[in-house]
């Protein structure tokens, strides 16, 4: 009987707790603690240059958010406080703090964590209510425009361009989370907890040399602006490995403030915009012809004043009657007629095979989004007229890296090394694996043919017989080739009187270390490849040789005859 009385008391209390006052206790429990889930953000991988210096870097950051219901009362004061300490705009902040019918408004995004937390704590101490911070990592580009066209940038919610976009999956990593019980703001020891660890993103090691890239960009800008050009690019390749030490584009933009520049300035024109290479292509045609055993560097050619090709006539850039040039003279004087005439010695399909082996018409797949494969006419389209023009770089289009790698083949003794931009290997979003580990090499022309071509190219920078003395690098022997090609207009699809001027070369010529290729689109000062791109080549090459401590070899430039 006694026990029954006691138990009924217990029962009554139970009903009171669970039924009647349940809500009150639940609130009490929630206010003092409970289970919380925090996100463990994965750190986005850095994009590094070849020496491990960051081109893109992740910093832990916060967003500052406001609850307008609580902030609107003292909004003007708080807005002034935030404008001063967080460097945000006063008026837009005021608008956010007083937003109607809302309990959430952004005040500032991607603020370095220590600044955000400090400011919000100060605001709370000063009696302002309704501010909070949330996780919001900051992506920083410490070098601003250096390699910006390659690296790309992050938008508010994800990558928008460049390597950031191409390798996003690898860079992003996977966020984790942690759930645990808290009491009065402190974690309950031995309380229930589960952890899913975050997997940080993988760092992307590029082959870019930050300092050389910076210098190349500055020289390129000076060159494009100085010639009144529209755009331009410059490539520096390590001759032995095909690694891209610099790939500069102009116009460029500030990756830490991409909105300040138009969208068209933010991609890599060198990789995405095909163009006709012009006379630089003669190097490929004539070294192939030497390799095929049809000619040598001393072969004598009688070059007429003009050459009939189908229903068209080929001219040289300088008017002349019949002149006697050796093959070296054809390169040194950049004769279209001489090249076209010599290329008629090729058998059917032979030139196309060589150009394909040089890498024309195929993407280099170095990891740049939207790379163009250029345009090498197919076997079916190929005919004698077309071959005459392709021989000196018309009717064939390329991207900058293709052409740089092709010239590098001559520098490398006839062996083409795949160019690369990523050290080791990395997987793109589409699953392609790219990088130096994936680079292969194959022989295109014989060592002897490459050597003869190098000697011919040394004549190009000769002040007496060549067209580009301005491309010389003091103290070193340089081999190179100019290019001045007519541009195909955007609208008419025909040559519109504009030009692409370029210079490609390597040094030291007897044991090349670097291949440099400079292209300026649409210069308006009337200059050509030798006078516009030549000096830029000289500066960039000189800087690279100095930076990597390449001593002059003491060799003398070749003196093979250019006339007979």
């Amino acid at each position: 009987m006694f026990i029954a009385v006691v138990l009924s008391f217990f029962g009554a209390r139970l009903v009171q707790l669970q039924g009647v006052e349940q809500a009150k206790y639940a609130t009490l429990a929630a206010s003092t603690g409970g289970t919380v889930t925090v996100e463990l953000p994965a750190e986005r991988g850095e994009i590094l240059d070849r020496n491990g210096r960051p081109l893109a870097d992740s910093v832990s950051g916060r967003m500052v958010v406001a609850d307008p219901v609580q902030t609107s009362k003292r909004a003007p004061d708080l807005a002034r406080f935030l404008a001063k300490h967080l460097h945000v705009d006063y008026f837009s902040t005021l608008r956010a703090l007083t937003r109607k019918n809302s309990r959430f408004a952004y005040v500032a995004r991607r603020v370095p964590a220590d600044l955000a937390v400090r400011v919000v704590n100060e605001a709370t101490d000063a009696g302002y209510k309704g501010l909070a911070t949330r996780n919001d990592p900051v992506r920083s580009y410490p070098d601003r425009d250096v390699a910006a066209n390659l690296v790309g940038f992050m938008g508010t919610d994800g990558p928008l361009a460049g390597l950031e976009l191409t390798f996003n999956k690898a860079l992003a990593g996977r966020d984790g989370s942690e759930t645990y019980e808290v009491g009065a703001g402190n974690r309950i020891p031995l309380g229930h907890s589960t952890v899913t660890p975050a997997h940080n993103g993988i760092d992307l090691h590029t082959t870019i040399d930050e300092d050389l890239q910076w210098y190349t960009q500055r020289v390129l800008r000076q060159t494009v602006l100085g010639s009144g050009g529209e755009s331009g690019f410059a490539v520096v390749l390590d001759r032995r490995t095909g690694e891209t030490l610099a790939l500069a584009d102009y116009p460029t933009y500030d990756a830490s403030n991409p909105q300040a520049s138009p969208a068209k300035d933010r991609n890599s024109l060198a990789m995405t915009s095909p163009y006709e290479p012009g006379s630089v292509e003669k190097v490929l045609t004539l070294s192939s012809l030497i390799d095929a055993g049809k000619v040598t560097d001393r072969t004598r050619l009688l070059v007429p004043g003009q050459l009939q090709s189908g229903d068209r006539v080929i001219h040289d850039w300088f008017p002349h009657g019949p002149i006697k040039l050796t093959l070296a003279g054809v390169i040194a004087q950049s004769s279209n007629i001489g090249t076209a005439k010599a290329s008629r010695l090729f058998k059917q399909g032979q030139l196309r095979k060589y150009l394909t082996a040089f890498g024309l018409g195929q993407r280099t797949d170095i990891g740049v989004n939207g790379e163009t494969s250029g345009l090498l006419p197919s076997n079916a389209e190929w005919n004698g007229m077309l071959q005459d023009r392709i021989a000196f770089g018309q009717s064939v289009s390329v991207n900058g890296m293709q052409m740089a790698a092709a010239i590098n083949t001559i520098a490398n003794g006839g062996v083409r090394v795949d160019p690369s931009l990523i050290q080791g290997r990395a997987t793109t979003n589409t699953g392609d694996v790219v990088g130096t580990d994936e680079a292969t090499s194959h022989r295109v022309v014989s060592k002897n043919a490459a050597h003869q071509m190098t000697q011919m190219m040394e004549r190009v920078v000769d002040p007496d017989v060549g067209v580009a003395p301005a491309a010389q690098v003091p103290g070193y022997v340089v081999a190179g080739k100019t290019g001045t090609a007519q541009r195909v207009g955007d609208r008419c699809g025909c040559y519109n009187g504009q030009f692409t001027v370029s210079f490609a070369g390597f040094a030291p010529a007897d044991n090349p270390r670097f291949t440099v290729y400079v292209v300026v689109q649409r210069p308006t000062n009337g200059g050509g490849g030798g006078s516009i791109a030549g000096p830029a080549f000289s500066k960039i090459m000189s800087f690279a040789l100095r930076r990597y401590g390449v001593p002059p070899t003491g060799a003398q430039p070749s003196h093979i005859p250019t006339t007979w």
Binding site: W214, S227, T484, G527
Partner: protein, 216 residues
């Protein structure tokens, strides 16, 4: 056999008697049990219990204490890590080649175009060394953004003809004016301030044009 049987029969009762005598049971004298006090046992048990409870309490308290400390330290670690990252970011910005180049150029330094290379083995100077000059200055800053026409009116050029007496000088200066005018109109399309920096390049390419023509 039969002769021995009565003898056994006789012996048996004797044996049984002795055994009986020996096997007589007596009550074992009851040992006096000493009554021990229950206090020590209870003391030990309660000490163990109390000790356990107090120990558990202390342990729990210390764990709570550690948890408070951990929360505080974690907050501090987060703050320090954020600080470190911000400082690293500032350092990277200070190490930006552009920043360094601007500072160096302000101090009057230029990149040499043709430095000397010293071979340490032979002590010989290689290359073609030449001292750097102001012409080696590299343009480091982007051109300023183009202003709207209202803010950037074309320069007013007044051509003043010299007095007719100095005929020779007159020809010279009129030639100069025409040349400058041409340059000015050429630069109108370009961004402001270009003239100062690119004057050199323009001049060079001009010379090259006359000697080589356009390379088509």
């Amino acid at each position: 056999m039969s002769s021995t049987a009565p003898a056994i029969r006789v012996r048996v009762p004797r044996l049984a008697g002795a055994a009986l005598e020996r096997a007589r049971l007596t009550v074992v004298p009851k040992r006096r049990r000493r009554r021990t006090s229950p206090v020590p046992f209870l003391l030990v048990v309660s000490m163990l219990t109390v000790g356990g409870i107090v120990g558990l309490l202390l342990f729990n308290t210390s764990m709570q204490q550690a948890s408070f400390a951990a929360t505080g330290l974690q907050r501090q670690a987060d703050a320090l890590q954020a600080r470190q990252q911000t400082l690293q970011m500032e350092l990277d910005q200070l190490r930006d080649p552009q920043t360094i180049a601007l500072k160096a150029q302000r101090m009057g330094m230029v990149l040499p175009s043709s430095p000397a290379v010293l071979d340490l083995k032979t002590g010989k100077v290689l290359g073609d060394p030449a001292p750097a000059t102001g012409l080696d200055r590299l343009r480091l800053l982007a051109p300023p953004p183009r202003k709207p026409a209202v803010l950037d009116p074309p320069a007013q050029v007044t051509v003043v003809h010299p007095p007719a007496t100095a005929t020779h000088a007159g020809v010279d200066s009129s030639h100069n004016t025409a040349h400058d005018g041409g340059r000015g109109s050429h630069d109108n399309g370009g961004p402001a301030g270009r003239n100062d920096h690119t004057g050199n390049t323009d001049h060079k390419s001009h010379t090259n044009n006359t000697s080589h023509g356009t390379n088509h």
